[in-house]
Symmetry: none
Subunit: 233 residues, 2 copies
C-alpha cells in the first residue's frame, strides 16, 4: 500500500500539480491538501498535473492537519530541518513497513515548511540526506525523492537487476573469432617478433573476451575482420 501524501498549506497550484505527477511516478495516488492558499479546486494545479490529473481531481481538502490525518495509523513529516521536538528522525529507507499501517506523509508549505503544531501528531520525521551545503528542494522534488524511496521498497522484488550481461556471446564463439583473427594476422605478419606471438595472441583474446560482445556483435566482427583481410589495397 502506498502512502497518502498530505500537502500542508501549499501556495502554488503549479506545485500541487507537479507533486501529483511525482506521486503517480512512484505509484501513489491519494492526495490530501490542507488549506491551500489559493483555494480549491485549482485550474493551475490541474493544468500542471499533465497525465496525473486524476490524482488532482480526486484530492480531498481539509481545514487542518488534525482532520487530514484523523484516519491514519502512522504519520510522517518530510522536512530537511528537524526541529526541537522529540520525534524520531529517520531516513526514508528506514521508514516503517507500509503494509502494517495506513501511512501519511506531511509536506510543508513552500515558504517556511511545517511548524511545530503541524508536527504534533507525527510519528516520525523523514529526511532525505542531501548535499549539506545545498538542501534546497522545491515541493514537488521533495515529494518525488521521498516517495521514490517508498516506491523502491515496494518494488524491490520486481526491480530490474543489472542485465548488462544478458545476451553475451558464448565463449566458444569468441574463441572462434579470436582464432580467425589470429590466422588472418599470422598471414599478415602482424605477430613479430615471433617469440612474442603467443602473448600478443593472448592479449587479443583477453580483449575480445572482455568486450561485452553479444552473439550478433561477434558475427559482425567476423564480417569486419574478413572484409579487411580480403581487401586488395
Amino acid at each position: 500500500m502506498f502512502p497518502v501524501v498530505i500537502l500542508v498549506r501549499p501556495q502554488l497550484g503549479e506545485n500541487i500539480g507537479m507533486a501529483a505527477r511525482a506521486m503517480l511516478n512512484c505509484g501513489a495516488t491519494q492526495l490530501r491538501i490542507v488549506a491551500p492558499r489559493d483555494g480549491w479546486p485549482s485550474e493551475t494545479a490541474l493544468s500542471a498535473s499533465a497525465g496525473a490529473a486524476n490524482v488532482v481531481q480526486q484530492a480531498t481538502v481539509f481545514d487542518s492537519v488534525h482532520d487530514a490525518v484523523a484516519d491514519l495509523n502512522n504519520v510522517m513529516a518530510a522536512t530537511a530541518r528537524p526541529r526541537q521536538l522529540e520525534i524520531p528522525v529517520i531516513a526514508p529507507e528506514a521508514a516503517p513497513n507500509l503494509a502494517t499501517a495506513k501511512t501519511g506523509i506531511l509536506f510543508g508549505p513552500e515558504n517556511n515548511g511545517l511548524n511545530n503544531d503541524d508536527l504534533a501528531m507525527v510519528n516520525q520525521i523523514i529526511t532525505v540526506p542531501l548535499n549539506p551545503v545545498y538542501t534546497s528542494l522545491n515541493l514537488s522534488q521533495s515529494v518525488l525523492l521521498v516517495l521514490y524511496q517508498f516506491w523502491q521498497q515496494q518494488t524491490t522484488a520486481l526491480a530490474p537487476k543489472n542485465n548488462a550481461t544478458t545476451n553475451l556471446a558464448a565463449k566458444k564463439d569468441i574463441t572462434v573469432l579470436a582464432d580467425n583473427l589470429g590466422n588472418y594476422l599470422t598471414q599478415a605478419n602482424y605477430f613479430h617478433p615471433p617469440e612474442k606471438a603467443a602473448s600478443m595472441q593472448r592479449n587479443l583474446s583477453v580483449l575480445l573476451n572482455n568486450a561485452n560482445l553479444s552473439t550478433q556483435q561477434v558475427q559482425t566482427l567476423q564480417g569486419v575482420f574478413r572484409a579487411l583481410w580480403q581487401t586488395k589495397v
Copy 2:
C-alpha cells in the same frame, strides 16, 4: 568524484537552472550543455538556479555530444526508453564505480529525448524504474532522481560494484579508432547496401564504445586493423 551532467539540446532555460539545483543537491557541479535551443548564456537559466548559480555560470557549452564527451572515459545515457541498440541497460544502483573512470551522464531534450546518434558513444543506458503506467518526468526531476542514486552511493561508502572501468580509454581515442575502421571498411566495400552504411557504422561505434577498451587496447586494435587492411592476399 561526481559525474558530469550533459544536457543535450535542452529547450527551456528554466529547466537548465532547475537541473543545476538538482545537481548541487546531490553534490554534482560539472554541467555541460550541448546546443541549447535558446542560446547561451541564459538569463532564465540563471534566475531559475537560485542558490546553484555557480553551476550554471561555470557550465560549458558544446556543439555536439561528440565534443561534449571527448575527454570522458565512461558515458551513460538517462532514458526511460531503451532503443534498439545493443547497449547494456542498468539501474542507477548498479552504475559503475565513479572513482575509476571520468563519467558523464547524458540527458535528452524535453520533447523527444536522446536519439540513436546521441547514444552512439554511450557505455550504459541508465533507467530509473518508476511506476510503469506513468514514467513522465520533467528534465530536472530526471536529473534529481538519477544523481540522487550516485549521491547515495558516494555517501554510503559502498564497496565498488563494478571495477571493469579501470583505465578506460578516452572517448576521443575510440572515435579515432572507429573512424579509421570505417575508412578501411569503406574502401573494402563492406558497407552495403549503401543506405545501411550509417547504421552499420553506428553499430560498430557502439560495439567499440562498449568494449571496455583501455588506451593500450585501443592502440592494439589500431595496429590490428591496419595490419589486416594492408595485407595483400
